[in-house]
Every structure is written in C-alpha cells, then in structure tokens.
Subunit: 213 residues, 2 copies
C-alpha cells in the first residue's frame, strides 16, 4: 500500500535534527499506524517491515523488538494524558470547572496524539507491558473520577446518577472519538471537526446532562 519514506527528505548533510533514515521515533509512527490498522497481535514484523520499506531485521537496529514499539507508543499517549492533570487549570478552581477543562483537554490530546492514544485504548492485558498500560490508564480514570465526586459534592453535578457510572459514560464519549475521528477528513474549513470544535461539542453534550440546572 503505502511505501513511506523514512523521514522528510532534507538536502542538509550535517547532522541536523532531520535524518534521511529511520530514528526510533519515526519508525514508531509507522509501527503505531499499522498496529491500529491490524491490531497489535495481528501485526507481524513482516507487516511492519513492508510498511516501513526496510527489511524485517533492520527494524531490530532501531528498537529491541515488537513489544518495545508497543511500550513506546503507549508511553507517548500516557505522557500526553497525565500532562493534562499538571496544567494549572486542572489544579485550581472549582471542581466542575477543572473537570470541564480536563474533559476538553483530554479530547484535544486524544485528537492530536490520535494513533498513540488509540493504541493505548485497545490494549487488552496479555503481556506485562499491556497490564502496565491498563494500570496507568485506570489511574488516570480514577484521578478524573475524583474530580467528578468533588463536583458532585459541591452540588454542581446531578446526584441521581452515580459518580463512577457518570465518569465511565463521560470517558465512553471521549474515548469513542478514537473510533471514528480521521484527521485527513478534518482538513476543510468549517467541517466542524477540529479538535477544539469536537471538544466543545463533547463538553456541551456531556455537561448539559450532568449539570444541575
């Protein structure tokens, strides 16, 4: 299908940032794309080598093996998500405001780091790496669940729906974006598919239902 070229072909000869060959990161972006298309278990090293345009054995020059590619991809997603919780707007102010902010930013990170977050969301728990990913993800969910509880206690969220259930449904909406959002389709103006616009729609849809009014 897509015989992609390693990096952006640059005429510069000096060891600038860009290279003509693969780096662990540029190879990762190819691998993660294939993982998402075929599933991690359904992807063989042969598939990866064809998608990258180098031989199977050459992949091992850049990374230790298949599982390292999975771990690196998942790490990138987790870094993006946990980074949200460290931002000022996620730490200060009324709980419901912090929750709205985290929701909006989670949608944005999910869309800008789409392949990596998609990979994270599909992990099942067969290996140590996958179980570690699930644990870290659960940790993120629980941090947000704490915000939901706080906001409910402060009377800003309706209390006739259990906080844990509400959190799950909220993440259900957010995470489902990975199932249908395709950035190449969002190029046109006014398509209503930029990350900020989708984030706004998610917040409106979710919070108008969760808020007390």
């Amino acid at each position: 299908m897509d015989n992609s070229v390693p990096g952006t072909a640059s005429i510069g000869r000096m060891p600038t940032v860009k290279r003509d060959t693969y780096t662990p990161d540029s190879l990762l972006s190819v691998a993660v794309r294939v993982f998402n298309e075929r599933g991690y278990d359904g992807t063989s090293m042969e598939h990866l080598s064809q998608a990258a345009g180098i031989s199977k054995s050459s992949i091992y020059h850049h990374v230790r093996g298949k599982e390292e590619l999975l771990r690196r991809g998942i790490s990138r997603a987790l870094d993006g998500l946990f980074g949200i919780l460290d931002e000022p707007a996620a730490r200060e102010g009324r709980a419901v405001e912090r929750l709205e902010y985290v929701t909006r930013r989670t949608v944005e990170v999910l869309m800008t780091e789409l392949p990596y977050v998609t990979l994270l969301l599909r992990v099942r728990g067969n290996t140590d790496t996958e179980r570690w990913a699930m644990d870290r993800r659960r940790e993120f969910d629980q941090r947000v669940a704490g915000l939901v509880k706080e906001a409910t206690a402060e009377g800003d969220l309706r209390s006739d729906v259990d906080a844990r259930l509400a959190t799950r449904l909220l993440f259900g909406m957010i995470n489902s974006i990975a199932e249908w959002y395709r950035p190449e389709r969002a190029a046109g103006e006014g398509s209503g598919d930029t990350s900020a616009e989708v984030a706004e729609a998610v917040v409106r849809t979710a919070f108008a239902g969760l808020r007390t009014h």
Copy 2:
C-alpha cells in the same frame, strides 16, 4: 484456569435439549469468552482447547475452524441489535421517543448479550468476516443516526450539535459499557447495575444533554 464442563450435567438419557458434550453453541460461549479476554488474534486454538477442556483437534469436530467461531459470535450480537429495530416501540411514535427506546434497548441487549456484543465491537477488519461485521454494524449505526436526524428535525433534540456527531457520542456512551460492565459484580441487590438501571442512567445522562429544554 477454568476447566469448565461442556454442558449442564443432566441425568436424562433421552436426546433432550441438554447434552453432556459440547454443541457448537456451548463451545461458542467458551470461545467468545476467551476471545474477549485475549483478543481474537491473541487467542490460539490451543488456548481454546484448554479453556474448553478438550483437545485442539476435537474443536474441529464441532466447528469448521477459528473464524467460524468468530462469525457465529458476531452474528449472535448482530441478531440481537437488529432485532431491536423491528420491535413496535422502535417503529411507531415520535422520533425522539423511538430514539430513547432504541437507546434503552441497545443498552439492555449489550448487557444481556455482553460477550457477543463485546466481540462485535472489537472487530478491526483484517478478514472478510471482520469487514462484514463492520459493515453490518455501520448499518445499525446509520439506522439510529436516521432517528437522531428525524428527532432533530422535529425540534426535540438540540441543533447546535451536529446529528452525526451526536449519534457517535451516544454510541460512544452505550458501547463503552462493554469495557467495564461485569455481570458477576451486578448480582447484589441495589447495586444499581442491572441492565434496566444502567439503561435508565444512560438515557438520562445522554438525553438531558441532547434534548431541548
């Protein structure tokens, strides 16, 4: 782990409905459980044989192969979902009422047929069987999207969120139930986890946000 016994051991000797050995359907329920635990591609016939307590080759006495187990499992989920659209309450009345009904029933079917629907939702499209499953699922989604459009046109749903996006977020909430609902945990009274109770929470959370008020 679980060396399950084929069927419910019955003392009856005549060819009643229940058997002491595996039927394609009873084997299917074991296989689908393992598929969901390990992922379809991550499940080998050896895994299935161990979970079923019979040898690998014996599986082929009941079904043609691994992919037939996938196809049967997915079919069962699709039958349940499309069955909803044929029910009277999904065909008569105001669009927003039909939409609420379909939403509620979809949650219920998802929870009663949990393993089969979970299997359907995780299909990625590597084989013909998987692509057929994705096509059928998209067909179901579009039928519901039609209801959303109708209800929006009738002025019962807010129009500041695109109908297609709203449908996707609605299914995001519904389908995410497969990610966390575990029936064995819902046995206790008042746990708020029966299918009707969860369905009610989903409808409330989703529609209070989507409705005009």
